[in-house]
């Protein structure tokens, strides 16, 4: 065990048992999985992506490239979890990834031996022969070798949630800078959200031995957090990563709500994705320590120096028995001092600087460089080049510090390009990269605790002033203010062997050299060619080193060479959280008919149409095929009476002195001439001349119309009318208001339709009192209803609308009365057949491309007036000879069916594009005619009645011969409608 006996922010009274790769270990409350593994001397935790190199824990944060784990077993297993951020909890089960058969013995580690042939981009240069081998052989092998963790392939059943939050100030990061900023702003009266990815707020104060105002930094942090928690205007969000900065002060944030719990209570989400809208933001995200590239710098036991301090100080773990440090700055010495203070042996501090500080209690090798390491599954020794020659140091942990990179990530999300700061040899955020966001502390490149507190306080004061609030004169707490003493040093030169830059994607310094050699010299080419920075950490620890090497190779400075940029999210976000509530039925609202319950009681088959659930069939007992039901329902309508729920048709109420003018402008035909109490069929175009929708409009008064849009186009038509009244002609005095949800509307069709209507209405109607295309009011059981005499089946038809609260009751009454007359409910399948038999358009013909003329409705475009789309519907090609026109098709005596996938050809011609004559738009078997019929769009179709054609559906492999006929199969004079 490497657990120190005292210290740290772990609770030794709460022991936690967990598993890693099948073995059971023990840790404490307050541990991360990584700290608990280190405490148990587990150093080898994973295999690298390409070469399957043994890897250990590198960092103590979310930038971790190596320690990615498969968590949990079975269907709900989670891949690629960073051990460095996963809180330990009882029963946690983790497994290493990307190895077979075991972590210690991985067959694919043979890749490491093949490394000379697996140089950057080698796959672009081979695997091309023979041609067919890519999909069959090469690619499957590459795919199997690639990838890290695995999904189970089974549905994720975890609960995820989303939420919105608003604040005056969002503080991102709860280290000294963030805490100071939040405290100052909150005391000044702002609504503050303070978010931090860690489960304990305080940032580096939890991992360092700094003092603030004479007390340990971590105690100051805890006290400040407690003070903030007590304030009403502060929301503390621990375990919450701000993942992205977007327009308008909107930030995405992921809260890990339950990952730290063994058995989350029912209803508690696993994660919540927040959208935080902040008037101002302060980025206090700290900095990420950067490595130094040297040969075999990827062995388990090589760690970042700050991570070593985190494990020792915060988690009370000795990361090694004899730790050495490789540094180019004073921070490396801090590591040594902290370890010595904890009684951990420091073998040496290898400092690249000749002017390195003196080490108290540890040896210092000045002007020295690590040139190699040894130890297959874990570090054993490092080889050091000093001015006095080569030295070998026995060490099982090498803490590396190459300086710090400010966490500029969020500031890049809106195209901000970080700028170079020579004194710290790092990129810092460019000002105003995100409107309203200020950067403070280490994220700004000011690394001391004093600077963190001071910049945090100052930024909060700026925000307060901008928002018209005053800052209370708070004294700045006292803290260390040591400058970062750093001599830039990126990689050890003059060595053999591979030195890793991107640990996860296995990119070495040699790959950068090769990229340069092959002229992939722009940073983006280099990244893409070598895959540097493309792994799960987005190159947080890798990009700078590679940039420095490329700068070296091209003889340019680092800022001339390029910059590092990052895209959202800051750390990866589960699809489940981003897509929370999308699974199952949650993807879109469910819209139910007033007769929904009635339909369900009748075991109707429902289908999804737009947002609505609509019955397609009302099968009776004994009907085993949908056609049985559909045919019966069609015969029922043609023979007696059928009812169907047409509530989804868009009902738009149009009132005002200019109501008629509006309708005349949006419809091709005239509505100002429609008498009150009458209904007219209308055709509406888009401005580009294509048909937008068809439907009926009823006139209830001089200035009052009710327009009906087809169900699928209801929203579109409403928006179009609002566009017309607000954008095109705001001078019109007219109101357009949706009343779709107000009315439950039923269609009644069939020879006995009037009998059914009269069984319900208080005052019976006759053909004379209420002729075809009439509208008016009627009383049903004392309820005021709207009655329409319209038909979409070719039969005598009515529609009745009642306020929706009576919809269920009316549906039941209709059902009973229809049954008494020998009729009943019919669904969309039958409705479709009825329409096609009558040659009426289904929504399939109005495909957004057809013109009135294509549909044979050219004469509906009034020559006397303008309307939307009129001019462009008259363009040459819109009326051309070879355009497809609506026709009907039939297959007399055939049992074979049409197909909606069918295209049409002249008999005997090769069925290829060049000979294409048109295609089927809708089709059915007509029980009335006894054979299949269809509607089709056919080149010059109206002139081709009687012609035989071949229909071919290649996707279903169907072929039939059919005949062009007139669209109206039944009652061509419309006598039934008017009966």
């Amino acid at each position: 065990m490497s657990r120190l006996t005292t210290g740290g922010q772990i609770d030794r009274s709460q022991k936690i048992a967990f598993q890693f790769d099948g073995r059971t270990f023990q840790g404490f409350k307050g541990d991360t999985l990584a700290s608990a593994l280190l405490a148990n001397d587990v150093r080898l935790v994973g295999r690298s992506f390409k070469y399957h190199r043994p890897r250990g824990i590198l960092t103590a944060g979310s930038e971790e490239p190596n320690a990615l784990m498969q968590m949990g077993l079975g269907d709900q297993t989670t891949p690629n979890v960073r051990a460095t951020t996963q809180e330990l909890h009882d029963g946690l089960i983790a497994a290493s990834q990307n190895r077979f058969p075991s972590l210690a013995f991985d067959l694919l580690s043979v890749n490491d031996l093949m490394a000379p042939f697996f140089s950057a981009g080698f796959y672009y240069k081979t695997f091309m022969w023979p041609k067919s081998f890519w999909e069959k052989l090469y690619e499957p092998i590459i795919r199997r070798a690639a990838g890290l963790g695995a999904l189970s392939g089974k549905a994720d059943t975890a609960l995820y949630d989303k939420a919105f939050a608003f604040c005056d100030l969002l503080v991102i990061g709860a280290g000294p800078a963030g805490l100071m900023a939040a405290l100052t702003a909150a005391k000044g009266g702002l609504d503050v959200i303070l978010a931090d990815e860690d489960f304990t707020l305080g940032g580096r104060l939890n991992s360092e031995t700094f003092e603030i105002d004479g007390q340990p930094g971590r105690d100051w942090a805890a006290a400040t957090v407690a003070e903030l928690a007590a304030m009403d205007n502060v929301r503390l969000m621990a375990r919450t990563t701000v993942t992205g900065a977007y327009d308008g002060g909107t930030y995405g944030a992921l809260e890990r709500v339950s990952h730290h719990l063994s058995t989350p209570p029912k209803d508690r989400p696993l994660e919540t994705f927040w959208r935080i809208v902040a008037k101002r933001a302060i980025l206090a995200g700290g900095a990420i320590e950067r490595p130094i590239a040297f040969p075999n710098n990827d062995r388990p036991g090589v760690m970042m120096a700050a991570a070593v301090r985190s494990y020792a100080n915060r988690f009370a773990v000795a990361p090694g028995k004899a730790v050495s440090v490789f540094t180019n700055n004073d921070d490396g010495h801090r590591t040594a001092r902290d370890l010595v203070a904890l009684g951990i042996t420091v073998a040496a501090v290898i400092d690249t600087r000749r002017e390195a500080p003196y080490g108290e209690g540890y040896p210092v090798l000045k002007g020295a460089e690590v040139t190699d390491t040894k130890g297959r599954l874990g570090l054993r020794e490092v080889i050091v080049r000093t001015e006095s020659g080569q030295k070998t140091i026995k060490t099982d942990c090498l803490a590396v510090s190459g300086g710090w990179n400010p966490s500029v990530h969020l500031t890049c999300h809106m195209n901000g390009r970080p700028v170079w700061r020579e004194d710290i040899a790092a990129f810092v955020p460019v000002e105003n990269a995100i409107p309203g966001l200020l950067t403070v502390g280490a994220a700004l490149g000011d690394f001391s605790t004093h600077a963190a507190l001071a910049t945090g306080q100052k930024a909060a004061a700026t925000v307060l002033a901008e928002m018209g609030k005053t800052t209370s004169a708070e004294k700045l707490p006292k803290a260390e203010d040591a400058p970062i003493a750093l001599a830039p040093f990126w990689h050890v030169k003059g060595t053999k062997g591979r030195a890793w830059l991107d640990m996860q994607n296995d990119v070495t310094t040699k790959d950068i050299v090769l990229a340069h050699q092959e002229n992939f010299r722009s940073v983006e080419h280099m990244k893409r060619y070598t895959t540097l920075g493309m792994a799960t950490d987005q190159g947080k620890t890798a990009n700078m080193g590679a940039l420095a090497i490329m700068a070296d190779l091209t003889g340019r400075s680092i800022p001339q060479t390029g910059t590092t940029t990052f895209r959202p999210p800051y750390t990866p976000v589960a699809m489940g959280a981003l897509g929370a509530h999308g699974a199952g039925k949650g993807f879109a609202p469910e819209r139910l008919l007033p007769s929904d319950t009635v339909g369900r009681e009748l075991n109707a088959h429902f289908i999804e149409l737009g947002l609505w659930y609509r019955p397609s069939l009302y099968p009776l007992a004994g009907e085993t095929h949908w056609r049985h039901t559909c045919d019966r329902e069609v015969r029922m309508v043609r023979g007696t009476v059928g009812i169907t729920d047409v509530t989804p048709l868009g009902k738009i109420d149009i009132q005002g002195p200019d109501a008629a003018t509006l309708l005349d402008r949006v419809y091709t035909n005239s509505f100002s001439t429609l008498p009150i109490g009458k209904v007219r069929y209308g055709l509406m175009l888009r401005e580009d001349g294509a048909v937008l929708d068809d439907g009926t409009t009823a006139r209830f008064g001089e200035n009052h119309y009710v327009l009906t849009a087809t169900g699928g186009a209801a929203g579109l038509v409403m928006t179009h009318l609002e566009f017309c009244t607000q954008v095109l002609w705001p001078e019109l005095d007219v109101s357009v208001f949706s009343v779709t949800d107000q009315w439950a509307q039923y269609s009644i069709a069939g020879p006995k339709a009037r009998d059914l209507v009269n069984a319900l209405v208080d005052d019976p109607v006759t053909n004379e009192s209420f002729p075809y295309m009439s509208c008016g009011e009627a009383m049903i059981g004392g309820v005021k209803a709207r009655l329409f005499r319209i038909s979409f089946s070719g039969e005598l038809g009515y529609e009745i609308a009642v306020p929706a609260r009576y919809g269920d009751a009316l549906a039941r009454a209709l059902g009973e009365q229809a049954k008494a007359l020998g009729g009943g409910w019919y669904g969309l399948e039958a409705l479709n057949v009825l329409r096609i038999e009558k040659g009426l358009l289904t929504h399939a013909e109005i495909d957004g491309r057809v013109t009135p003329d294509d549909l044979g409705l050219g004469k509906m475009v009034s020559g006397k007036k303008d309307c939307v789309g009129k001019t462009l519907s008259g363009r040459g090609a819109m009326l051309a000879e070879d355009r497809e026109q609506l026709v009907a098709l039939k297959i007399p005596g055939e049992v074979n069916a049409f197909s909606g996938g069918g295209h049409l050809f002249k008999v005997g011609e090769k069925m290829i594009t060049a000979n294409d004559q048109g295609h089927i738009t809708s089709h059915c078997f007509s029980p009335t005619l006894g054979h299949p019929i269809a509607l089709a769009l056919l080149k010059n179709g109206r002139a081709r009645t009687g012609e035989k054609l071949v229909m071919k559906d290649y996707a279903r492999n169907l072929e039939i011969t059919c005949e062009v006929c007139a669209p109206v199969h039944l009652d061509p004079k419309g006598e039934n409608l008017r009966a």
Binding site: L159, D161, K162, A163, F164, A165, F166, D191, V257, P265, K266, D267, R268, P269, T272, R275, V277, H581, G586, A588, P589, E590, R591, L592, L593, P594, L611, W612, T647, D653, Q655, G656, P657, H704, Q726, D733, V734, S735, F737, V739, T740, D741, Q742, W743, L760, D762, I780, G781, G782, V783, V802, P803, A804, R805, Y806, G807, D808, A809, L810, A813
Partner: protein, 182 residues
């Protein structure tokens, strides 16, 4: 004679309680859209004043006297929510439609009502920015909604055909908040 039995849109779905928050149905006698014709707003207001004792609210506002309320509903558009089921006789000066059956009305109330609604609704619900006397047309769980602060929470109106999803979404948010506030 036929007797059509009315069914309220939320019957059988509500009430629900979770933690500190309750979701209940409200059934105002009538909801009526009023869009005064051009230049007729003052007349419309006077007519409403005399019939219901309540005037037209300002942008985004609610005017209320006793049980009669007028909600701002859009540019020059209003919703009268009244204690009696009849249409105002103002068809000469305003476009008027009966919306009584178009909307389902819910009350989401209790200490954490705002936290619940913030899981589903993208507007700023902080009381400094949104409180009694105001109203907003916005979305709740991807559905068009009218959200109006009450003394102890919010009145939420959604299209009646969408109540199943609305209740399901609100209930799931109520559960999520309740368990996290434990």
């Amino acid at each position: 004679m036929l007797d059509l039995v009315a069914k309220s849109p939320l019957s059988g779905l509500l009430s629900l309680t979770q933690g500190s928050v309750a979701l209940t149905e409200a059934t105002p006698a009538s909801i009526i859209s009023i869009v005064p014709f051009k230049g007729r707003a003052a007349e419309a207001e006077a007519a409403l004043q005399s019939a219901y004792g309540v005037g037209l609210p300002p942008l985004g506002g609610v005017s209320q006297v006793a049980q009669n309320r007028v909600l701002w509903f859009g540019d020059g558009q209003y919703l009268l929510i009244a204690d009696r089921a009849e249409m105002p006789k103002i068809t000469e000066i305003a476009a008027v439609t009966d919306q009584s059956d178009a909307w389902a009305v819910m009350h989401l109330e209790g200490r954490d009502a705002a936290a619940v609604l913030a899981r589903l609704c993208p507007i700023d619900l902080r009381p400094e920015y949104f409180s009694k006397g105001q109203t907003a047309r916005t979305e709740v769980a991807h559905m068009p909604a009218i959200v109006t602060p009450t003394v102890n929470g919010f009145e939420i109106m959604v299209m009646q055909s969408l109540v199943k999803t609305a209740v399901k979404s609100l209930h799931s948010a109520m559960k999520s908040v309740a368990v996290q506030k434990m």
